[in-house]
Point group: C2
Chain length 202, copies 2
């Protein structure tokens, strides 16, 4: 499978625009979070802090570590989301002529959908870390870069919204495990909205 983030960025955008099922919204959500994480890391890594106090530097160092860790996870999730969604498509295409085939197909679909729920849930949770790091960057970082910290937060929140859409749609066909994933992603979304409000994101 193509390593999506190794493609030239313009070609990656073309892949998202193509009518092929992957990469789709789940990978785009992870990419948005990864882009937000990169902007937040930039602000946290600047030599200048808001007032120059030592405590600020320590908070920005911690936020930089969060942004880098979450950003690395989100980059991996761009690929992972496409991989698991391809499995869902493959499972639906399994033969269903006999009872045995029908049962095997049903099982394969359930397994694939469970993974296709876990991956955007992981994306949503990593996007929440981006928002948390964006708040630290906006509060303690270089005041000239507040717009970058807020933009990073807005991208993290968009990733969270997109990931939640994907959890809901894929969990819809699952039983209890689906309900649990939806509950977790709704909690992440509510916390994310509160953090976005604190950052002044409309």
């Amino acid at each position: 499978m193509t390593r999506l983030l190794e493609l030239p960025a313009a070609e990656l955008l073309d892949r998202f625009a193509s009518p092929e099922p992957t990469p789709g919204g789940g990978s785009a959500a992870a990419l948005s979070g990864g882009l937000g994480a990169a902007l937040v890391a930039m602000v946290c890594a600047m030599p200048k802090t808001r007032t120059g106090a030592a405590e600020e530097q320590a908070r920005l160092d911690a936020a930089l570590a969060w942004a880098r860790e979450a950003g690395g996870r989100l980059r991996a999730l761009v690929q992972e989301d496409a991989r698991v969604y391809d499995s869902v498509v493959a499972a639906y295409r399994l033969p269903k002529a006999t009872e045995a085939e029908k049962a095997a197909r049903k099982g394969a679909i359930a397994v694939a959908l469970a993974r296709a729920t876990d991956v955007p849930l992981a994306t949503a949770e990593a996007c929440l870390v981006v928002l948390k790091a964006a708040q630290e960057a906006a509060a303690h970082g270089n005041p000239n870069a507040v717009s970058d910290a807020r933009t990073g937060g807005a991208l993290g929140f968009a990733g969270l919204v997109g990931a939640a859409e994907n959890v809901r749609i894929n969990a819809g066909s699952l039983a209890e495990s689906g309900a649990l994933a939806v509950e977790r992603v709704e909690a992440a979304l509510a916390e994310g909205r509160t953090r976005a409000n604190a950052l002044g994101i409309p």
Copy 2:
């Protein structure tokens, strides 16, 4: 200057994370809008529509044209934002030893900041088109792809928020022309928030 969208996507993310001033939030906002446009175009280009009615197909064809046109503009704005912001940095670095140098520097900064306000304003307005196309895609497109249309809308809105941050910060140092740009971007932001609400984006 490096053509940013020709870089492998992972390397482009590294550039955003680096402490170099560009690419920064303005380019990230345009990229977010471009990614949103790609997802919306994918939904509009699907052979299946919500109910299969002919009118739906016509609306999706129109929305596809908007998404492609806005997406193309946003891709160009990724580069353009980095270019104009580099000019702002260069203007601030001009010599200021004599009165003549001071006057020349002041003029160069004003020109550069005016361009660095126009570019994110264009980004904001293109992101609004992405949101408009996302609403059409969600209302009339393949119901299985509603999550993709909404994710595209969320990315368009994040791009609009990020672009507005950049208009505000760069317009802050300008006189009347700055106030006009801020007024226009606040209007775009308000319309974008209404469209995001209609899409169910928190």
